[in-house]
């Protein structure tokens, strides 16, 4: 069942097209990653979904509610963390959670118990008593995540949730998000590829406002990034290069070094079929091979390849 549907969603700021005809369907219970370079349209898309920005074209639905500017009916289903969460510096962290809970008309006893749980979840139990004005950027980010969860939303929209966190904090937040997806559909935007790769089930890559691809991460790897074979030799000379180039299945060779050890990365036409042929050819040619490994591509390579292709086309 699709909990989020976008049909031709567009947003223009003057002459600048920030979001261009976004078609998107997200299933309930998915941890969905919005990936893209700066200015790709990630924040714009999230702001439209939460009702803070008006689409100039297209329509969207979240939990069956049509997305409209300042729609309180829509917002009841959503928890939202903006890119740079802003708070009242005179409030304490706990007071802010109480305040947002009351805005969602949650009974006070329930707000209190949820605030306790959420402050513990984001590691602010003690700091919750302090004024937000004294919080660091990372603490504000954590409080931002807690306030987005106060209404136990069906859909959680997080704009760069890990941007201000240290590595340990990032890991904790990502683990929390993984647990939350059992009850909530989460959409997080990020330009930290490893974060998306670590927790997301599905990803959409945006560039210059356009959706380049939407796919499950595994499918994306299989579809867009061809595996490479990494070969490590004692030394590489022209004879080795020449012999490898002669192997029929070899498409491209990249040469690099890891420390002092020379490495060849080889792209073949069909990684499954050519895996054996390549190894047999190397063994037959009697090259001084130290290591032979098939490297699985990561999201970063997919991303760079897709965004790079787009930029070349434009």
């Amino acid at each position: 069942m699709n909990i989020i549907v976008c049909q031709g969603l567009s947003k223009k700021y003057g002459k600048i097209l920030a979001l261009d005809n976004l078609d998107l369907e997200i299933e309930k219970g998915t941890l969905f990653g919005f990936l893209g370079p700066n200015g790709a349209g990630k924040t714009t898309a999230l702001r439209i979904m939460v009702g803070l920005s008006q689409a100039t074209g297209g329509k969207a639905w979240i939990c069956g509610e049509e997305v409209k500017l300042n729609s309180s009916r829509l917002q009841k289903h959503i928890g939202y963390l903006p890119e740079e969460p802003a708070f009242y510096s005179w409030m304490t962290g706990r007071e802010f959670l109480y305040f947002t809970g009351r805005l969602f008309q949650i009974p006070f006893a329930e707000i209190k118990s949820r605030a306790d749980i959420l402050l513990e979840l984001v590691g602010l139990t003690e700091a919750g008593k302090r004024r937000i004005g004294s919080y660091s950027r990372g603490m504000k980010q954590r409080l931002g995540i807690a306030q987005a969860l106060i209404n136990q939303p069906e859909v959680l929209l997080l704009d760069e949730p890990c941007s201000a966190l240290d590595p340990v904090g990032r890991l904790e937040v990502l683990e929390t998000l993984s647990k939350l997806k059992e009850h909530t559909t989460i959409i997080m935007s990020s330009h930290i590829l490893s974060d998306i790769e670590r927790v997301c089930d599905e990803v959409a890559i945006l560039n210059k406002g356009r959706l380049i691809v939407k796919s499950r991460i595994e499918e994306l790897r299989q579809r867009y990034a061809q595996p490479l074979f990494e070969l490590e030799f004692d030394q590489i000379n022209d004879s080795i290069r020449h012999d490898i180039q002669k192997i029929p299945c070899v498409k491209q060779i990249f040469e690099s070094k890891r420390g002092d050890i020379p490495i060849l990365r080889i792209r073949v036409e069909n990684p499954v079929l050519d895996r054996k042929a390549l190894l047999e050819a190397i063994v037959a040619s009697n090259m001084p091979l130290r290591r032979y490994e098939m490297l699985l591509p990561n999201l970063e390579e997919v991303f760079v390849s897709l965004v790079g292709n787009q930029q070349e086309k434009s």
Binding site: V50, Q54, L69, N70, Y80, P82, A86, W90, L103, Q105
Partner: protein
């Protein structure tokens, strides 16, 4: 429901950021300071070392009330604009408005809560200032008619709340506090200047302060038209502010 949650936040904010204290203190100082100034003006002039003797007519309670009305229509207006120019604009600029308005709180409740909380501050300040003025004037300058003085204060309060609604509208319209303040002052001073035009003098909000002065001078003629105009403009300003926020991307 959202209105009461937001109102409670606004009131707490006004106390914790000392806004309430400042507004009440300023209006109290004006309330107490006016009769003191009237009473001791001759002595102040002598102490200032003026060589040319200035003969002042004997000033009494009526003069103090006139000065009080004049202060409220000028300094009061400025105070209202200063405390409310950032009410919405600053929240938009700091992006706290986006946090609130993404949580089911409608822009109507948002602006109405601000209007109520600032009104409470102004009314409390006016009340304390008026009490201070009444006692000091009664002691130093002679008796003050409590009924007329209450009416003067009610008219002033009504006028200042109108100024507040106009400033809130401009504060909703702009992200810049200065732009909101500048346009509010321009419109409010412009409207006050219109009371000089005989055909309009009975209708413009500034006529309320003229009514208050007239009352102190013994006249009974009031301008109920100005009361109605002021009420309608106040309502329209709030509606405009609400509609602007409803249609604006925060």
């Amino acid at each position: 429901m959202h209105y009461f949650v937001l109102l409670s936040k606004e009131i707490k904010e006004n106390f914790r950021t000392y806004k309430f204290l400042i507004v009440v203190a300023v209006l109290l100082v004006f309330g107490i300071g006016t009769p003191l100034m009237i009473k001791f003006l001759p002595e102040i002039l002598i102490l200032s070392g003026e060589e040319i003797p200035i003969t002042l007519p004997a000033l009494g309670a009526k003069d103090a009330i006139q000065s009080y009305i004049s202060n409220l229509s000028q300094v009061g207006l400025l105070l209202v604009v200063l405390i409310s120019m950032g009410a919405v604009a600053q929240e938009r600029e700091r992006r706290t408005a986006a946090m609130i308005l993404s949580k089911s709180a409608g822009p109507g409740a948002f602006i109405l809560a601000k209007m109520t909380a600032i009104s409470i501050m102004i009314i409390a300040g006016l009340l304390l200032g008026a009490i201070g003025f009444y006692f000091y004037t009664s002691i130093l300058l002679g008796p003050v008619d409590p009924v007329k003085f209450t009416f003067v204060n009610l008219l002033s309060m009504y006028y200042l709340l109108f100024c507040l609604s106009v400033t809130l509208m401009f504060s909703s319209l702009f992200k810049s506090q200065l732009a909101a303040a500048g346009l509010s002052l321009l419109i409010l001073i412009g409207l006050a200047a219109l009371s000089g035009i005989p055909a309009l003098s009975k209708f413009v909000p500034g006529a309320l302060m003229g009514w208050a002065t007239n009352l102190i001078n013994g006249g009974n003629e009031g301008t109920t038209q100005a009361l109605i105009t002021c009420g309608v403009l106040m309502l329209l300003s709030l509606l405009a502010g609400w509609q602007v926020l409803k249609r604006t991307e925060i």
